[in-house]
């Protein structure tokens, strides 16, 4: 690299409370180069990006743009230095009800220099120019954005970013919600852009994309630079530097509680996403399954079908050998299929309720007399039992749930579903926003009390599933691509299974 870097970050550090998110990170970003940034969840990728695009002020270290040291305190400042970012969630970047033209020329449209009377033809002209930057001329400028495919929306965001002639373009997981075909189109454009001299930072979990696109790979691990790889690189060596040498194949003995003679849940040729191959899977009594895969791999979709929230496209399900076809969530619950949903705050916690009310809500019928009046005594007794069993730290069972820490709130939500006997408990990302101690305690309780039931723990984070599972099942693009038993876990293989393309894995 004999060229001058367009942006340099030097000795970048950042702490959130006691957590050291980034420590002494250096990177150079060169014009005409595509740098891929990889790392496990929590390695510090998003923190670094947010610093570079001005969201986090109060970082340590220096940022140098075009040989000038700058102080980035707001996205607007980063923007003025020619740093443009396209964020992961596409629909936060477009205004769905507005037309393609308006979205493309959003900046012009919202600029204070606009005449008072809205001049759509002028906006449309400008939008046409911007569309040209990404060869988007095939788009109908006058239709609302919600009518066009995700990839085109993504393209609109990128085109808009390019309109300001950026020096550095950051793309955060741009393919997480678009199809492979759409991704291919995006890659062609990105390589063209790189060749035109733009510096691109590409963040992705999908390692095969990176091997195709990147000129250089920067690896973050635990907030530090774990290595920089240059061509040629393979998925293998990227994974190796992500995982590191120390943390290999953790050992967890297989649990003896599993009773292979009893099949609790059986999926026969189940198609739960359109156009995907059928899934066959058996869950045994006393077993905890870890279900992992990247965002969009189909984990939550399977959970929704099991929990009666969605209907399968075809195939059959059996619970305890009996045909199972839930018509709604209540039907699933009545069949002993429970779910701790992901995103505790939005999907599980009743903020105005106390702990007791949060625990007891799904099974109020247990506490009522013949005219549906609740017995406070019975409610207290059950809630107190669960609080004790799950080691929830609280003043009393009638303290507000919001007075608890995140980990203890999660224990309350898990307690809600472990209070009565079940056939299957699904825990969707149960450890998000949960401290390590609580995570261990929840996992331990689940393992100790699985009894005659069975559990599916869904987590993107490999360490979380390795920690808790008797068996790990990996999904990739809606296909079950592999499984590993506790005791013979190969973490590198797991990363390949989650991050590779289907062709690579299946052939």
């Amino acid at each position: 690299m004999d060229r001058e870097p367009i942006v340099q970050v030097k000795n970048i550090g950042m702490s959130f409370g006691a957590t050291r998110a980034l420590d002494n990170v250096d990177f150079n970003f060169y014009p005409g180069e595509l740098l891929a940034l990889v790392g496990a969840n929590g390695a510090g990728k998003s923190t670094l990006i947010k610093i570079i695009c001005g969201y986090h002020s109060g970082y340590e270290g220096r940022i140098i743009v075009a040989n000038r040291e700058v102080d980035l305190n707001s996205p607007k400042e980063a923007y003025d230095f020619g740093i443009q970012t396209v964020h992961q969630i596409i629909n936060q970047g477009v205004i769905q009800s507005m037309t393609v033209a308006e979205n493309l020329a959003l900046e012009e449209m919202l600029s204070p220099d606009q005449p008072v009377v809205y001049n759509y033809p002028a906006i449309r002209r400008r939008a046409g120019e911007i569309a040209n930057l990404m060869d988007l001329n095939y788009l109908d400028l006058d239709v609302p954005v919600f009518t066009i495919p995700q990839s085109d929306r993504q393209m609109i965001c990128i085109a808009r970013a390019l309109a300001s002639d950026p020096k550095l373009l950051i793309l955060d997981e741009p393919t997480s919600s678009i199809s492979d075909k759409e991704a291919d189109r995006l890659f062609t454009k990105l390589l063209k852009l790189r060749d035109s001299g733009v510096s691109i930072v590409y963040v992705s979990h999908r390692l095969h994309e990176i091997t195709r696109l990147a000129d250089r790979v920067g690896v973050l691990r635990d907030g530090k630079v774990a290595g920089e790889l240059v061509k040629p690189f393979s998925v293998q060596n990227i994974v190796h530097s992500m995982v590191g040498d120390i943390e290999q194949n953790p050992v967890r003995k297989k649990d003896s509680k599993i009773n292979k003679s009893v099949v609790k849940l059986e999926l026969q040729d189940l198609v739960f996403q359109e156009g995907k191959p059928p899934l066959n899977l058996k869950l045994y009594e006393g077993e905890v399954i870890g279900l992992t895969g990247l965002i969009g791999a189909g984990k939550s979709e399977l959970a929704a079908v099991l929990f009666g929230a969605d209907k399968p496209f075809s195939g059959r399900m059996f619970v305890n050998g009996e045909f199972y076809e839930p018509s709604c969530i209540r039907a699933a619950i009545d069949n002993g299929i429970f779910m701790v949903p992901e995103d505790r705050n939005n999907n599980a916690v009743f903020p105005e309720f106390n702990i007791l009310q949060n625990i007891n809500i799904p099974f109020l019928g247990m506490f009522t007399n013949s005219i549906s009046v609740l017995s406070k005594r019975k409610e207290r007794k059950e809630a107190a039992r669960m609080i004790k069993a799950m080691t929830v730290k609280c003043e009393s069972e009638e303290s507000p749930v919001l007075s608890l820490s995140g980990g203890n709130q999660q224990k309350v939500i898990v307690a809600r579903w472990l209070m009565v006997e079940s056939n299957l408990v699904i825990l969707d990302e149960p450890f998000q926003g949960v401290d390590v101690k609580s995570r261990r305690e929840i996992g331990q309780y689940l393992r100790d009390n699985i009894g005659k039931s069975t559990a599916i723990v869904i987590a993107t984070d490999l360490d979380e599933v390795i920690d808790i599972s008797d068996r790990i099942v990996v999904f990739n693009h809606g296909v079950m691509v592999g499984e590993q038993e506790a005791g013979s876990i190969d973490k590198e293989r797991l990363i390949q299974l989650t991050s590779g393309t289907l062709e690579e894995i299946l052939n």
Partner: protein, 329 residues
């Protein structure tokens, strides 16, 4: 033993203390205020919108708002009069029919919100106008009383049955007004349902986090419809009391019922620091409004001043609930 905290104390008891102070002040300034007869007058003056407010509480709990209850009550008045005076129905059949129509109105609102997916406020606003117009249709826009000439030119010869009027004008032991007893009965039933049964718990769960409620197996739509049906049903019951009170099909009888009912329920948020809709608070809110109006009237304050003060109290109660209570939650 927890440490005494003045802020927590005032959040919990502040409203009732203010109410007590006002009560004392009114009693001192106007001794007649304190007579048993007058205290029943206060209850009598609030029992119709107080009953409606209890119905509204169901909807408020599920994080909705029913703006149509005033019209629904007025519709009940006109239907009652039409059935008894024009069609010469008996009182009992009239009551059943009016309550049935209340349920139908609630089901229709529920349908608009749950199936057609119109936001609560807009659906009930639309229904407010619709029902407001509907109530005039049978009588062609005229009040219905004995001897009134209805559209077809015939004189209406029926009349309000004595039993029906007793619901609005009767007094038990010559002191306790019947409609007040009805309001108290409704209040007890609503209190038990909302605070003591699993249904109440589920209503509150839906209001607190509808998605979480769905994911614990609650049929959220069903409960929303039940909330609107309850609200319309109770509003039509209040309409029966109003009809019995007024004694004829009086056009435009809804007056300020809707706003008083919603005001009472909102003031109820501040009672005992509940910070959420609750039947006990609603009744206290209604009585507070009635007490304030009664006391200020006795002190010869003009009606517009009374409205001004009523509004100020509502704003203060809401500021109290949402402004400070939240921060100290």
């Amino acid at each position: 033993m927890k440490k005494f905290n003045i802020t927590d104390f005032s959040i919990r008891w502040g409203f009732l203390i203010v109410m007590g102070v006002l009560f004392t002040v009114f009693s001192l300034l106007q001794p007649a205020f304190l007579s048993a007869g007058n205290l029943f007058n206060i209850l009598l003056s609030v029992c119709i919108f107080g009953t409606m407010a209890l119905g509204e509480t169901f909807v408020l709990i599920t994080d909705g708002m029913d703006l149509s209850i005033g019209s629904t009550a007025a519709l009940s008045v006109m239907i009652s009069a039409y059935l008894m005076v024009v069609l010469e129905w008996g009182g009992f059949a009239t009551i059943l029919m009016v309550l049935f129509i209340g349920v139908v109105v609630g089901l229709f609102i529920g349908f608009l919100i749950v199936k057609v997916k119109i936001p609560d406020l807009l659906a009930t606003l639309g229904m407010m106008f619709l029902v407001q117009g509907l109530q005039y249709i049978p009588s062609g826009g005229l009040s219905i009383g004995r001897g009134a000439v209805i559209k077809n030119g015939r004189e209406a010869m029926g009349q309000f049955s004595e039993g029906f009027k007793y619901l609005g004008q009767g007094r038990i032991l010559k002191v306790i007004p019947v409609p007040v007893l009805i309001m108290i009965g409704v209040a007890i039933i609503v209190y038990v349902i909302l605070s003591k049964t699993k249904f109440g718990r589920i209503f509150y769960a839906i209001g607190g986090n509808p998605e979480a409620a769905r994911l614990v197996g609650v049929n959220v739509n069903k409960y929303k419809v039940i909330a609107y049906v309850s609200s319309s049903f109770i509003a039509s019951l209040a309409g029966i009391l109003l009809a019995a009170r007024v004694g004829r099909g009086d056009v435009g009888s809804q007056g300020t019922l809707l706003m008083d009912a919603i005001g009472a329920a909102l003031i109820g948020f501040a009672v005992l620091g509940a910070r959420k809709p609750n039947p006990f608070g609603t009744i206290i809110g209604a009585i507070f409004i009635g007490m304030l109006m009664n006391g200020l009237t006795m002190l010869s304050m003009q009606y517009f001043w009374q409205d001004f003060i009523k509004g100020s109290v509502l704003v203060a109660a809401l500021a109290f609930t949402f402004g400070i209570s939240k921060k100290h939650g």
